[in-house]
């Protein structure tokens, strides 16, 4: 009951944010929501399934470029977003089949290479992706269902509500996934692959499922980007972007549900505030990462939860 109340309060807070927040704050919040979705999906793969992927930005990029290409010819927000997500899902399914056969370091290296292959395609395939200039002039298309309604998205507030709505939906779905038999099975595989296999679980199938869902979440985060910024450029596919959900999740807490979300908030706010005062933001982040790994592997969330900081 108390949990529900807390969540309700949070949702109300986010819902009324445009009333008292400036435009830049809304812009920042949208980015935080995007990073949260990105990190949530990443953590399904890492925290719950035990696979560290350094290539999630590749699927983010597929979602972003996919949505952008659609919006440039058919400016309907829903179609663009759904299209981007679908493409990212297909990509993660296909690449997942190739990746999940391996684990640990090899899995990480393999995802890194696929992510960078997508990056080099985005950079070099000028005709398709615009090359290093990227895709420009992407419209913030109206939210419409033909014949039913059409809502203009020109105002940052309107787009904010779309993003908020989709984010809450994504978070809710994630909750259901974690609580479901699928979620428990994944954790079982993470803890002991052999035991899970002995019980008759198709380890490969579940890993692939986890990988694909992570890819879908990355794709959703990516697809929500072009209408916000009106441009998509290759750095969204680079491994340094893949590192963001990793760092956010580490910051917030790897083994918890809320960790990626809390971490995304902290990570984004930290960077935003630190760069106003100094150009040396990397060393600040680096020190935080080192401190967390050395002492607080459960992340910020574990500092609040007594039973979290076991390791």
């Amino acid at each position: 009951m108390k949990t529900r109340l807390a969540i309700l309060f949070l949702i109300i807070f986010l819902a009324v944010l445009p009333a008292f927040a400036g435009k830049y704050l809304l812009y920042v919040t949208i980015h935080i929501l995007l990073l949260s979705i990105f990190s949530l999906g990443f953590n399904l793969l890492f925290g719950y399934t035990g696979l560290l992927s350094f290539g999630q930005a590749g699927f983010y990029a597929v979602g972003a470029y996919g949505c952008a290409k659609i919006l440039l010819v058919y400016p309907s927000l829903l179609v663009g977003i759904l299209g981007g997500v679908a493409l990212a899902g297909v990509a993660s399914l296909v690449l997942g089949v190739l990746c999940i056969r391996h684990t640990r370091i090899y899995f990480s290296m393999l995802t890194l290479s696929f992510g960078m292959m997508i990056f080099s395609l985005a950079w070099k395939w000028r005709d398709m992706t615009g090359g290093d200039d990227g895709l420009v002039g992407i419209p913030r298309a109206p939210l419409e269902v033909p014949g039913v309604f059409k809502i203009n998205m020109a105002a940052m507030e309107s787009y904010y509500y779309v993003v908020l709505g989709l984010s809450l939906l994504a978070i809710y779905l994630f909750q259901r996934i974690i609580r479901s038999p699928l979620g428990l099975t994944l954790q079982g595989i993470r803890d002991s692959e052999t035991r899970a296999a002995c019980v008759g679980v198709s380890v490969r199938k579940y890993r692939l499922l986890s990988f694909t869902i992570a890819g879908l979440y990355a794709g959703l985060a990516g697809a929500l980007l072009p209408p916000l910024e009106s441009t998509v450029t290759p750095p969204v596919a680079h491994w340094s972007h893949s590192a963001e959900p990793v760092l956010a999740t580490l910051l917030g807490g790897i083994y918890t549900f809320a960790g990626p979300i809390v971490g995304s908030v902290l990570f984004y706010l930290l960077k935003d505030i630190i760069v106003r005062f100094t150009e040396y933001w990397l060393i600040c982040l680096g020190v935080i990462v080192v401190v967390l790994v050395m002492g607080f592997r459960g992340g910020v969330v574990s500092i609040f939860l007594k039973e979290g900081s076991r390791r």
Binding site: L25, Y255, L269
Partner: protein, 440 residues
């Protein structure tokens, strides 16, 4: 991974509370740090512009192989602001500059622009080193309702497409664009009948593609006898150009046209020397080789005569041209303040501030629409010469020569000499603009 976490209701509640608390604090923190920075409220009838401080938000590259350019933009802008403020500011209001790192990433440049304009309260924006960042920032300017004076980014697309074609009037560019690298070079080398075989070593991104395409197109028009025998592409973070140099030298070119700039440019030239290139070719055109950091970096080799007088270059401004009192004064003040020669980014930024001053004084208004009208069509004397802001595409027209890299006893570092000066009208592209075909 041995640990399993079961999420109990209590822990979830605590997490959520922590999250909300943290977020509220964080968001309040953002609001707070913005509060003390919003434009000061107007003092009744005292300042003509209605504010005590006119805020200028700038950005450039502050780290990596190209870091000097961000420093130069900051240095030039700061010098101008100090000079203007010392003389009483603009109509009684002082300038204030905030400068941020764009990290050569379009996403960061966009975020900075949004922050500077909406949160910090900048009245005018300037800067941006990379073309990709410029192309990303340009389209959001109407939403931000702010002018951005682009100080470095050289892509022709910024003015030809975004202004002339798409009508984004908030974009202005004070720096000479890639016409300098492409067309000016062609005008210089059409006069050398012995240089027939050209090769290119170029940046593997839009800057390199457009410079090479322009050079080829224009040169071919004047000299149908030239051939383009080889091209090598170097991506960002190329540290070692030996493969590129040896690849193009295999085709026995007479001349080489090269775009890698800043620290990469210096190492490219050094490696070319090592490979004996300057014994074989007749000319090497280092596009932005007239930039101070490159001239400083190769000064030892120039002094030793290693380039055999075959190294040519241009820039978007060189400190020894034009020979006017305005330019002399600028160079002297800059050297006194910073102990270095000004780069083209420095001059561009310095002149930008003075252009802003002129526009504000002319319109006596901070409104973007008024300022756009003021800068459009403006003819103004700057350190780099007289600049004319062409209304069709908001590009500043001014002539920068090309020349050989030589030692001049008047200067402690190499300079461009044997200057080939062409009127800007001769090598700038004019509307209607045809899209440039940039193949590889």
């Amino acid at each position: 991974m041995r640990e399993r976490k079961r999420i109990s209701r209590r822990t979830f509640l605590k997490t959520a509370a922590a999250g909300i608390g943290g977020m509220t604090l964080g968001l309040k923190g953002i609001e707070a740090s913005a509060q003390d920075k919003t434009p000061a409220k107007a003092k009744p009838a005292r300042k003509a512009l209605g504010v005590d401080v006119i805020k200028l938000g700038g950005q450039g590259v502050i780290s990596g192989a190209h870091a000097d350019y961000g420093w130069q933009i900051q240095a030039g802008a700061t010098l101008a602001v100090e000079e203007i403020n010392a003389k009483g500011g603009v109509l009684g209001s002082k300038f204030e500059v905030k400068f941020m790192d764009e990290e050569l990433k379009p996403a960061v440049a966009v975020k900075n622009a949004r922050y500077l304009a909406t949160e910090w309260g900048a009245h005018l924006l300037f800067g941006v080193d990379s073309s990709g960042s410029a192309m990303a920032v340009g389209p959001i300017l109407p939403e931000l309702d702010r002018i951005c004076m682009f100080v470095h980014a050289s892509t022709h697309r910024l003015t030809e497409e975004l202004v002339a074609d798409k009508g984004i009037k908030q974009i202005f560019r004070i720096a000479a664009p890639v016409y300098q690298e492409g067309n000016l070079a062609a005008l210089i080398f059409k006069e050398f009948p012995n240089i027939k075989r050209w090769a290119g070593i170029h940046c593997d991104y839009e800057y390199g593609y457009s410079a090479w395409a322009l050079f080829k197109d224009t040169l071919k028009k004047y000299r149908p006898d030239v051939e383009f025998v080889s091209i090598a592409w170097a991506p960002f973070w190329t540290m070692d150009f030996s493969s590129h140099i040896s690849a193009v030298m295999a085709a026995n070119p007479d001349g080489i046209h090269a775009t890698p700039w800043a620290g990469e440019g210096v190492m490219l030239l050094r490696q070319a020397l090592m490979l004996g290139v300057f014994d074989k070719i007749q000319a090497w055109f280092q596009c932005m080789g007239g930039s101070v950091d490159i001239l400083e970096g190769i000064s030892r080799e120039v002094e030793a005569g290693k380039f055999k007088n075959k190294l040519w270059a241009t820039a978007r401004y060189i400190h020894n041209y034009p020979d006017t009192p305005e330019n002399k004064k600028f160079v002297e003040s800059f050297r006194k303040r910073w102990n270095r020669f000004p780069n083209y980014s420095a001059e561009n930024a310095y002149s930008t501030i003075y252009v802003f001053k002129a526009a504000l004084e002319k319109t006596r208004s901070l409104k973007t629409a008024d300022l756009i009208k003021a800068i459009e069509g403006m003819k103004i004397m700057t350190a780099g010469g007289e600049r004319f802001f062409r209304p069709e595409d908001h590009q500043a027209i001014y002539a920068v020569p090309g020349g050989r890299v030589v030692i001049d006893p008047k200067y402690p570092i190499p300079v461009l000499g044997d200057l080939k000066v062409f009127p800007a009208q001769a090598y700038y592209r004019h509307p209607p603009f045809e899209p440039l075909k940039m193949g590889k």
